[in-house]
Amino acid sequence: MTEPIDTRIEEVRTELLSEVALGVGETPPDEVGDLDAREGISRTSRSPLQLAWRRYWRHRGAAVSTVILAIMLLVVLATPLTARYGVTEAVRPSQNQFLPPQDVAWFGTNQLGRDVYSLLLVGVRTSLFIGVASAILSTVIGTAVGSFAGLRGGAFDNVMMRVTDLFLAFPFLVAIVIARQLLGGLSFLDPIIGERTSIRFIIVLFAIFGWMIVARLVRGQVLALKEREFVEASRAAGASDLRIVVAHLLPNSIGPVIVALTLSVIAAVVGESTLSFFGFGPQPGAGSISLGQLVQGAGAAARQGNWWLVVFPCGALVLLAVCINFIGDGLRDAFDPKMDGGH
């Protein structure tokens, strides 16, 4: 299963599990005080954020992953300095195709004689951009829809949850390929989201499917929080719905939202690669390339035995996936100590 599917299922699962185990609703966020005492940490008071920060760095996988990801980000963002060749530049004037890894090309060359190492840097940069942009977009949409549905309830809430359920159960790849075809066929959308092969298009496509996970999550949080005293007090004082959401509900459910944001970055990166693998991915213009395009050749390269065309692009993808998953895991533990599966 693809990573996006996996994360979507994870949402369904956590919800089911939490409903069964804890009755209904999410874990209340004010466990930090108890934990402080239980772990024998000093009595000096720390803000919940400081505590979360400490717990985050104590998660070994997350800490290591953060460092690795930071290094990768630095190298990738500094491509003008770190890349050795341009995207369309050959490593040698002639006889440069399918060179195994060597001095002139650390990660070997592809069928066009281009340096895989340099391509990889540009590719990871493009893919991370796609991932971060679509994750932010879907989180913003999902938060808005989820808090509205949770707060108001009623018919809108019902319809939204039914639609979300169906989409989460629908095969991701089928849905996204069909939606891609549909959006590309609606000509009046062209000026806004561009061609099927543009990066803008793919970001919008992933956002369309990504917001539902966040919406469901935020809705759950809002439902659990909205009957609490501080919200009631605020309402009694005459606060508007918008103010209640922005000032009270969102700050109190920020943890799960950030976790979902992190995981949807990698979901989009893997999704882009998967789409590209089947030839449905974006084609960034001249001078650029995406990780998906590099991975696309891996299948054919594997059958020809050009292992470096498989190992390096796929390795980069897996490294990204593992790092970001660890970071998401660490964030989850940091924000919600109860979720730390029984350690």
């Binding site: 693809t2 990573e3 299922i9 069964v20 069909i178 299948g299 059958r303 498989v310 993808l317």
Partner: protein, 312 residues
């Protein structure tokens, strides 16, 4: 359920009509089609112009669809009947899915139970970490790697297909040999997620009062584990199997295409690439129907297994 089916099929029909240009795709696949053939294609697919044409086309398509496979429009490429292609692909996919689901889910649940016995022990962290890493690997990466190592480099297993090229008739041994790699890819995915969720579910009920009561009554630990703890913990996991069906099909699409295994995934990607809308639409209807049915099954299963939940 019925209104949802109507709505879903209409959305699918409209999507297909808007996203593709069936006539252009038909002419691309059959460049020398005569005017009569072209008109026949338009008629059989209900490609009427305008917004009203979409509704009229939908009505005719739905009627023909319900009347049975003999009345479905023929495929764009090769002018073949769609039903035999679809059932052939479905059969292959069910064989692959059935095998890997049984293997993956049972080992996943088993490993999850083992891990949950001693939370924090080396065995628990070994299972947990392995599941974590396996779950982070995108399926097409594991598929390409397995193909590269075991089929191309070592040559132990065949890289693609159900049978070697040119093979005729049924041969169980060959079939199993060709199934091994695709099954492993799907098993890796299901095993990773199911072991983690089983572990979490068992740990969730680990502190329940009824377990303490059971132990206090002197029921042997093995019986407490399987009759009280696991049985309750598996309720959400079992319903997930039903919900998962659709998502697993998505994973199968990737695996099948890499191993060129002639199932629903290959059928789907090929239909998309050919713009073969007469093949695509029945496929999508079947998928939507399956998703709806399995969601229903999950709801019912949940209520049957957990008496606290009632269906209104």
């Amino acid at each position: 359920m019925i209104p949802i089916l109507f709505l879903a099929t209409f959305i699918l029909y409209w999507t297909i009509r808007t996203g593709w240009n069936p006539l252009a795709d038909y002419l691309r696949a059959n460049p020398r089609a005569s005017a009569e053939k072209r008109q026949e294609f338009i008629d059989s697919n209900g490609l009427y112009p305008g917004v009203g044409g979409v509704f009229r086309g939908y009505k005719e398509w739905l009627w023909n669809f319900v009347r049975g496979p003999g009345h479905w429009p023929r495929s764009l490429k090769g002018n073949a009947e769609v039903w035999p292609l679809l059932t052939y692909a479905l059969g292959n996919t069910l064989r692959l899915y059935g095998l890997s689901a049984v293997l993956g889910i049972s080992t996943g649940i088993g490993l999850g139970i083992i891990a949950s016995r001693r939370p924090g022990s080396w065995l628990d962290s070994l299972i947990n970490t392995t599941a974590f890493y396996l779950g982070a690997i995108p399926p097409f990466v594991s598929a390409v790697f397995l193909q590269l190592v075991f089929a191309v480099q070592l040559g132990w297993l065949p890289p693609t297909g159900v049978y070697p090229p040119g093979h005729r008739g049924f041969d169980a041994a060959e079939m199993v040999k060709h199934l091994i790699l695709p099954v492993i890819v799907v098993v890796i995915q299901t095993l990773a997620s199911y072991s983690r969720y089983t572990r979490a579910a068992v740990l969730d009920v680990a502190t329940a009062d009824y377990l303490r009561t059971a132990r206090a009554k002197g029921i042997p630990e093995r019986q407490v584990l399987f009759k009280h703890s696991v049985r309750n913990a598996l309720i959400p996991v079992v319903t997930l199997i039903a919900i998962d069906m659709g998502a697993v099909l998505g994973g199968l699409i990737i695996t099948e295409n890499i191993f060129e295994y002639p199932g629903m995934g290959v059928y789907f990607i090929r239909a998309i690439n050919d713009g073969d809308t007469p093949k695509l639409l029945p496929f999508l209807v079947i998928v939507v129907f399956a998703v709806l049915v399995f969601n229903l099954i999950a709801d019912v299963l949940y209520a049957v297994l957990d008496p606290r939940i009632r269906l209104d």
